[in-house]
Symmetry: C2
Subunit: 162 residues, 2 copies
DNA sequence: GTCGTATCGTTGTGCGTGCAACCAGCATGT
DNA sequence: ACATGCTGGTTGCACGCACAACGATACGAC
């Protein structure tokens, strides 16, 4: 009778594991939603757009190849094409041909984009601090950083490439 | 001249903070993709579908109200309606009217769904262990569990409720 | 030079999701 | 009993994304 509905408990997660795992899923979901809403509210900017601007700002000459940008922000090439379309339409970035490779395109920050980012960055980083970073001690952050690296290249990283 | 392109560093994240924060974003993305692919590969089941089956299996009588289920798996009500549609079409769950409240619907696990989950659970939990849990020590997991709680209810949790 | 293969970016298409609107049914007050 | 407001689930619609196919260009072998 005990074999009815919940056999196979042998592989289930312990409460400890469950808290750590599901906690991460929920925390990520909640954070992403909160930060995105915050950014949209304050600057009418989506999180994905913010990421593009940020990577561009931190790149040499404020420009990056579509390809590299796509893998930086974990988006498919086609997804990036459209995202760049939208941002270009808003005048925040522009496309620049690549002279070294005629197939290539650069996405390049415009002055408007630079300003937009400067403003958004303040909001966003404040949010990240308030909602995430402040919940950890420096030691914990240190630990996290290392653990993420283990997780990331443990998971094959087989995604991306394209 | 130093005022050219990257002023306002004052609010930027320290390398420590950056590693912890971006690491989480990437880790989550990589994990989600890997686990989803794995589940789809092995059992032709999406992660969101798996979550539904799992919550149902763990619920009393293997059934839950649409509403509760939606907030459990962090999905909008409309999103859940369609997800349940798909799962019902595959015969893994069924809709059952609620006698206490004529508006209500239960999503209920079918025998086929129960079997599907039993198989998928093994795969999925093995994946979670291998890709995530094993990268942390028990102490670290303990710390994480607590931290996630702080993060989650710090972030307002203003999402959900539909 | 030319051919075959790989890579870059774009486009067509389908899918999953959220939001808003909607209807049916509950709950409360009078 | 009836009116009002609220809740649960579904539907129309728009959006963002991935996948596959495509044209253009690069790179290498011959």
């Amino acid at each position: 009778m005990a074999t009815m509905s919940s056999v196979g408990q042998s592989h289930l997660l312990s409460p400890l594991e469950l808290r750590a795992w599901r906690g991460m899923l929920r925390a990520h979901a909640v954070l992403a939603k909160a930060l995105d809403a915050q950014l949209e509210e304050a600057h009418n900017l989506q999180l994905s757009s913010y990421e593009v601007l940020m990577y561009l700002a931190d790149a040499e000459h404020e420009r990056m190849r579509m390809c590299d940008l796509a893998s930086s922000i974990l988006l498919s090439r086609s997804g990036l094409t459209r995202l760049v379309d939208r941002l270009a339409r808003e005048g925040l970035i522009e496309r620049v041909a690549c002279d070294a490779d005629a197939r290539g395109q650069f996405a390049k920050l415009t002055p408007a984009g630079r300003e937009k980012l400067a403003a958004a960055r303040i909001t966003h980083l404040a949010g990240v601090r308030a909602l995430f970073l402040e919940r950890f001690t420096p030691e914990e952050l240190e630990m996290l950083g290392g653990a993420w690296d283990r997780v990331i290249d443990g998971a094959g990283y087989s995604c991306c490439k394209t």
